[in-house]
């Protein structure tokens, strides 16, 4: 529960501004009549508030409306230009995106071709097949050699004796 002085000080600003209900304002007034300390506090608040009147008002140059309307015309012109540029800007963005994508693809392709893919190591079953194939190839070659030798032999057997 605040003391009467605390309560009065919390509403003093509103009292000075005339923002309190009549009954509350009357209660504050009665307290101030009796309390020297709160009266002094109220005087300080009032006087410091009055010091704010020392601030000079703003110097307003004539012709503000004309300058304002000129700026508005500029703003409208800018908006009109922006609106005209907007479709072009969007088209430019689409073209730039497509070109970027194409360039990326081409670069990827070039890099792929240039570096080449590393040869995959053969798996054991593939190695087996490869060995078998080379063995078969060797066997065919052996067969061919055998056939040639046999033919040579036949030819030399059938040849007439030159000295006879």
């Amino acid at each position: 529960m605040p003391s009467p002085c605390q309560w009065v000080r919390s509403v003093l600003a509103a009292w000075l501004d005339g923002e309190l209900k009549v009954s509350t304002a009357e209660a504050v007034r009665r307290h101030l009549e009796q309390c020297e300390s709160c009266r002094a506090h109220a005087r300080l608040l009032k006087e410091s508030w009055r010091l704010l009147d020392e601030m000079p008002p703003a110097p307003v140059r004539s012709g503000f409306t004309g300058r304002m309307m000129a700026r508005l015309v500029e703003e409208k012109e800018l908006n009109r230009l922006e609106a005209r540029l907007e479709p072009r800007r969007r088209r430019r963005q689409v073209v730039a995106s497509v070109l970027g994508l194409a360039a990326g693809l081409i670069l990827g392709l070039v890099l792929h071709t240039w570096t080449g893919l590393p040869e995959k190591p053969k798996r054991p079953i593939e190695r087996e097949v490869s060995l078998n194939v080379s063995f078969l190839e060797d066997a065919d070659l052996m067969d061919e050699i055998a056939v040639i030798e046999a033919m040579d032999r036949l030819m030399s057997d059938n040849q007439p004796d030159e000295g006879v």
Binding site: L44, L51, L52, L72
Partner: protein, 191 residues
Amino acid sequence: MLTFQKGDELAFQELVERNQSRVIGLIYRFISDAADAEDLAQEVFLRIYRARKTYKPTAKFSTWMFRITANVSLNALRSRSNRRDDVSIDQITDFGDGPRAMPDPDSRLPDTDLHQRELQEKVQEAIRALPEKQQVAVILSKYEGLSYADIALTVGCTTMAVKSLLARARDNLKDQLLLYIRTGRGRQRVS
């Protein structure tokens, strides 16, 4: 505003004509620079122009206009304080209480003018030292004479919150300006 909203461009010119001094005056209370205040006032009216289609007359036009004005002013103050952080030493002219701060003996300004200027600077500093919401409440209450209810609508809070904001603001101002009340430097003009 409603006529302008219906497409009457001349109504906008009328609106500018009628409200310019209030808007410029209010901005000036925040930033204390006449040229900047005019630029920012143009920004306020441009925002009003751009928002004409979305404006709903649920509150008073002046409340809406003051809200835009306060926002534009606070944004300008924030960007100024950001810029001040980057300021180079060459740009600093206030060297505090060193020899340069001594009064110029050749100055022809009379004492009363010096006191008046010093007091204005102190008042300005005291207002600037307040938190943003208190600043807005003080400026709207003191210089625009708005009621707590109208300040609440402008700031977007309750009347009770405004009451508390202004109570704290006035206490802060009293503490900041105490010297000028007690020494009598301010008292000359205080009734």
